[in-house]
Subunit: 364 residues, 4 copies
Amino acid sequence: MKNTIGTALTLTLFGESHGPAIGAVLDGLAPGIPVNEDDIAHALDMRRPSGKISTKRREPDEFSILSGVFNGRTTGTPLCIVIKNENAQSRDYDYGPARPGHADYAAYMKYHGYEDYRGGGHFSGRVTAGIVAASAIVRTALKARGILVGTHISQLCSVRDRGFIDYKEDIELLYNKPFPTLMDEAEAQMRSAAERCAELGDSVGGVLQTAAIGMPAGVGEPFFGTVEGELSRAIFAVPGVKGVTFGLGTGFAGVFGSEGNDELRYEDGKVEFTKNNNGGVNGGITNGAPVIFNTVVKPTPSIYKPQNTVDFIKKENIVHTVRGRHDPMIIHRARAVVDALTVITLADLLTVRYGDDYLCPEGK
Amino acid sequence: MKNTIGTALTLTLFGESHGPAIGAVLDGLAPGIPVNEDDIAHALDMRRPSGKISTKRREPDEFSILSGVFNGRTTGTPLCIVIKNENAQSRDYDYGPARPGHADYAAYMKYHGYEDYRGGGHFSGRVTAGIVAASAIVRTALKARGILVGTHISQLCSVRDRGFIDYKEDIELLYNKPFPTLMDEAEAQMRSAAERCAELGDSVGGVLQTAAIGMPAGVGEPFFGTVEGELSRAIFAVPGVKGVTFGLGTGFAGVFGSEGNDELRYEDGKVEFTKNNNGGVNGGITNGAPVIFNTVVKPTPSIYKPQNTVDFIKKENIVHTVRGRHDPMIIHRARAVVDALTVITLADLLTVRYGDDYLCPEGK
Amino acid sequence: MKNTIGTALTLTLFGESHGPAIGAVLDGLAPGIPVNEDDIAHALDMRRPSGKISTKRREPDEFSILSGVFNGRTTGTPLCIVIKNENAQSRDYDYGPARPGHADYAAYMKYHGYEDYRGGGHFSGRVTAGIVAASAIVRTALKARGILVGTHISQLCSVRDRGFIDYKEDIELLYNKPFPTLMDEAEAQMRSAAERCAELGDSVGGVLQTAAIGMPAGVGEPFFGTVEGELSRAIFAVPGVKGVTFGLGTGFAGVFGSEGNDELRYEDGKVEFTKNNNGGVNGGITNGAPVIFNTVVKPTPSIYKPQNTVDFIKKENIVHTVRGRHDPMIIHRARAVVDALTVITLADLLTVRYGDDYLCPEGK
Amino acid sequence: MKNTIGTALTLTLFGESHGPAIGAVLDGLAPGIPVNEDDIAHALDMRRPSGKISTKRREPDEFSILSGVFNGRTTGTPLCIVIKNENAQSRDYDYGPARPGHADYAAYMKYHGYEDYRGGGHFSGRVTAGIVAASAIVRTALKARGILVGTHISQLCSVRDRGFIDYKEDIELLYNKPFPTLMDEAEAQMRSAAERCAELGDSVGGVLQTAAIGMPAGVGEPFFGTVEGELSRAIFAVPGVKGVTFGLGTGFAGVFGSEGNDELRYEDGKVEFTKNNNGGVNGGITNGAPVIFNTVVKPTPSIYKPQNTVDFIKKENIVHTVRGRHDPMIIHRARAVVDALTVITLADLLTVRYGDDYLCPEGK
C-alpha cells in the first residue's frame, strides 16, 4: 500500500500542497462514535504554524466531512474529510534545483517529472493535515475506552524536557499546548534556541516522546504484526522523521540485561511493572504498561542559506537558495501528526484484536 | 498480516522453539534464481551460536527445501524451507513465571495459556532461522543486480566500531565474520566486554548498522510505503530490537539543517551526495546513495540473576531465576536476521517498483 | 480491506447517496497519463439514468479532481475525484422497514442503526459513480498499451444479444451506447421487455458479458491471485451482482473436456486459440486470448408492489411498499460499473506484473 | 497476495505435484481449538481419488503438523501442515507441448521456462490437499459456534441432484460421502455418466452447490469486502473452477424482482426469510439466512484423445496426446476443496468481524 495504512481501520491520504485540497478517508471505524467539529478544529490547530518559529504561510484549515457521518455520529462506512488549500503561493517555486534534504530528486527519479512540485506537492507536510483531522474522531473513541495518547518534545538541540511522571495528567496538559513540553522552562529554552537558529537562517531537529495509556495487554503480534513495527511504519510517514525507538530506546545499548528488564509484580490483583524500559511491549505484544516511544525528527531541510546542489533538469551543478516560506523548526507541528498516527494505529490494532465493534458504543 | 510480510515478495514464518521444525515460505520471488545450498548454510552459520558468548544449545540447522526450486533454480512459485529442531531440552522450562523482559506474560494475555511456552515457543529467536535461510537465495538475486547488503555491530555497551568507509569492501569483509565488526580491535573489546558480563550472569545490548549499496534512486513511496517504514516494520520482527533509525539517526536531534542536509553534485554525469546523513532516503524514496540504518538491540532478557516477577498461573509474586541455556549477547546473531530482512525487504520494494521479473535472469 | 481494492493500483470509495458527495481515491496509477475531462464525463453519462427504464432522480454528476493531476496529466500520487450529490430527496425514505432484496436489515445488524439509511446510504448504486469516473483515466492508459475493454447486455429476461465477433469493432461500438447491445434488435426487445415490466411495477435482471482484448499472456497468479478471483472480487462490489463466470461459464457443466478445451496453434509465429471457452485464463493466468466473463445482475429489488417484510425497529411484521424513485432495470447502468472495475483490475494486475511504470508514457 | 489469502485468518500454500512435499500455513487461527488427526485424515480422504472415475495415482496423504499445535490444541501461532509426495511418476511428463485447457502455456509465459512442469507442478490439484487438511481444524472451530458447511454435486452433465431441504441433516449426510449427492439416484446416474465418458477417453464438468448455516447476520462489507467477493476469490483458486454464483445465480436473469426478492418475517422473535434467492447475502453482508453458492467446474482438461496444440519450446504446431494418469471427472474431489475454502473464508470473515478470539473456546 502506498497512501493507505491499516488492517481493520484504514487511512488513505490524498492531496498536494498547492492543489485544490488535501484530505483523508478513514474506513473501518466503528459506527456510533460522536463527531465533534471542535475537536477536529483543535487537532488541526495543534498542527498549524504559529509565531516566529513557523512558516508565514497560514492556512485556515477549513474542513468538510463528505461522508461517513450521520446525525452527528460515525456510520461505520468510510469517512472522507477534505481540507481546502487556500493560501498557496505557487510562484515561489521553480523546478529543477534539488533542495538538499528534500525529496525533489528522489521524486523526479520516481515520477519522471510529472510530479506536482509546487510547495513540495504530495511530499509536503501540508498533506498530514488530513491525518490529524481524521485522528480527532478516533481519539474520542479511544478515550471512551480509557485510552489516552500524548506527545511532547523531549529534546530540541541540547535542551531536554522531563519524561512522563503522572501519565494521565501529563497527557491532558499536552493536549492544549501548541508547543508541547512538560516543563515550562524547557519550552522557553527550546523557543529561544529555535529563534536564535531562525536568525541564522538555519533550522533545528529534535526528539518527540509519545505515551499511550490504557492499552490492554495482549494486543499485537510477534514477528510481522508487532506493535513496534506497526507504529514505526506509520510514524515514518511523517515528513522529517528519521528514527523510532521504544521505551529506553538507544539507551538499551548501554545497560545490562538486569537493568534493562522490567520486573513484574501483582498490585491489587493486577500485574504492574516496576519500570517501563520496554515501552509497554514485549515480543511485539502489549504488556499492559503504557506504550512509550521516541521519534527522531531531523531539522527542517528548508533553510535560508545557499547550498550546493544539482539542477536535474538542466543537468548541472548549481548553488541554490531555497525561496518561499519555511519553518526553522517543525517538530512541534510534527507532534500533532505523530500523535494522530499513534491514535489511528492503536485503534487499528484494537479493532484487529477485538473486532469491528470494539470502539462502537454498542460494542462494550 | 501476522507472520507474513511483503507486498510483491512475501515471507511467511512458522514454528516454535521446541516443536518439530521451524520454517519459512517465500512467495513472489522471480523464477530462474540459482539456489546454492552452501550459501544457505553459510547464512545459517552466521546466525548460529558459537563460543563463550552464546547459548550452549547448538543446532545443526539442517534445512530442506520442500518446494519452489527445480533444476537448481527458483521456479517463481512458493519456496518453502524447513529446519528441524533437534537439540531441544524441554524439561528446562516451566510455565507461570513471567521472565522479565520476555514475552511470557504478554503472550499469556493474548493466547490464554494455549501458547507453546517451551523455550519461548513461537517467540524464540530460533524462528528467525527461517528468515535467514530464505534470504540467502534472495541475496544471490540482488547481487546479480549489483545490490549488496552488510551489517556490523557499531556499538556494544561503550565499545564502538568505525562506520563504513569503502562500502563494497566492508560489506564483503563482514560477509564471513560471525562476530561482525569493521575493526579488529572493536571485536576484541566487545568480546571481552561480553565475556565479563557473562561472568556476572548478566547480558549486554548494542547497536547494529546496516548498509545497502546499489539501490537505484526512485524506489519506495511517500507516506505509507516509505523505505524507512517498510524496513523498520520488518526489522522490529527481530526479537530484542527496540529501535530503528536512518542515517545520522538520533544524531539529527543535535545538528542544524545546514549540517543535516546532504548536498548533491554531478560527478561524471551521475548524481552523488557529499555525505549521507539521510541514509539514502528522502521523502520515503531512495535517492541513489547507500541505504543506511541503525538497529538498537536490547540486552538479552534471559540472565542468570534472580529477578522479582509474577507467576501468572498461581497469581503470586515470586523471585525467579531463569533456567536453561541462554546468550549473554545476541546482537551478533541478530545481525544475521537484520541483514536477512533487509535483503528481503529491498527485494520486495524493487519487485513492486519494477515488476515480477526484475530479479529474474530473463528480466534484465 | 473494506472499501479499498487492488495491490499496486488501489481504489478507495467513499460516500452515501444523500450525503454531501461521493468519491474515489485512485492510488498507484502511473505518472504521465493524460486526463481528459470529457472522457470522465462520458463514462459518467453511461452510468447515468435515462429514459423510461431509469429512476427519475437525475444527477448532473459534476465532478472535481482534488489531487493527483498536474498540467493535465497524472502525477503518480493519489488522485481523488469527488462528485456532489445534488438531487437527493431525503424525505422519501423512512427507517425500520427492511426492503426485501435490499441490504437494510443486514446493514442494521452490522451498523447497529447508525448507518445513513437515506436512499440506501453507502449501499446505494450512486457510490459507484466514483468507480466509473476514476476508470476513465485508467482506460486511457490501457488503450495506449493496446488494451480495450467493453461490456454488453448478453441477456435480459429471455432476450439474448449476440456474442462478440470482431472484438475491437464491437468494443468500440459499445463505448457510446447507453443501452449496450451488439444487435439493434436485442436493444429494442430488451427495452420493450423492461418497459412492460415497469408498467407492472416490477423489475428485471440479466447477464452482462465483458471482453478485454490486448492483455499479454503471463499475467495473474495461480491460487490466490488468479485473474478470475481478482476480477470477481471487484465485480461483486457492484450492487445487484450475484454471479461471475468466465468464458463458457455455466455452459461448462454440459460439455465434454474435448469440447471445453481450447486448442492452440501458431499463426504467423504467434500463439492463437481456436476458440475461447476458457475466457483467456488458464491456471489463473492470462493466455493471450481475450479475457471474457459474464456477470449475473439480479432484478432491481426496489419495486412498486407491496411486499411482506419486517420493521426491525418496531420488531413487527408489516406489508411495505417501497416509496421513492427507482429503476425497473439497472443492468445497463451496472454495465458502466462492471466495465470500470474491469479496467481498474486489469491495470492493477499489469502493474503488479510489470511494475509501477508500465502504464506511464515513459514506461514503454 | 499470490499464494496467501485472508485478512485476519490467512492461508499460505506451497508445493508442486512432484516435489518433495506440498503444504499450507494457517495463521491467525484462534488458540485452544482441538486438533483431531482423524478429522484431517477424513477431510483428505474426501479429496483423494478413488474408483474408476479417478486417476490411478494414489497418494496415502500422510501429513505432519510442524507447528502451531501444543497439547492437542492450536496455539494461536502459525500452523504448518506438510504432506509428502510419494507416488510421483515424473517420467510421464515432457515439456513443450501445451496441453489444451491446462496452464502450461500461460505458465511458460509467466515463469519463462523455470517452472516445475512435472505433473502440472504448482498448478496441480495436488497442491489443494494442503487447503483441505488445514480446513479440518477450522471446521471444528466453526462447528463449536454452530456453523456448518457442506457441498454437493448439483449438476453433472445433464444429471441434477436435488437442492438442500433440511440443511443440517443434508450437510451431515454429505460429510461422509466421497461422491457427494443428496439423492442416491443422482449419484448412480452421475457415476454412470462419468464412466461412459471415461470409456470415450473424455471428461465431464458440473456444478457444485455449497451451503453454510449458522452464520450470524451482519458479517461482511459493502463494495470490496463482500461475502460474495471474498468467497469467489477463494473458490477461483480451485483448479478447473470457471464460475461462482450466489443463491438463485444465473436464474436471476429470468425472474422479476417480485420473485427474486426474499421476503422477511419475524418467527418467534427472530427474523426469517421466506425463501433464499439471495443466498444469505444482501449488500455484501450476511443476512442470517444460509449462505448458498454454486461453483461451476469445467471438465478435466486432461483427456486421452489426441488434440491439436503447439510445442512452445520447439515453436511448432503438433498433435498431442496427454500421457499419464488423469481423472475423467474431478468435481467430486473439487468438492472437498470448495468446502475447505468456504470454511476458511467464513472463519476469516468472522474473525475480522468479532476479533481474534471469536473461535477460541475462551472467546465465547
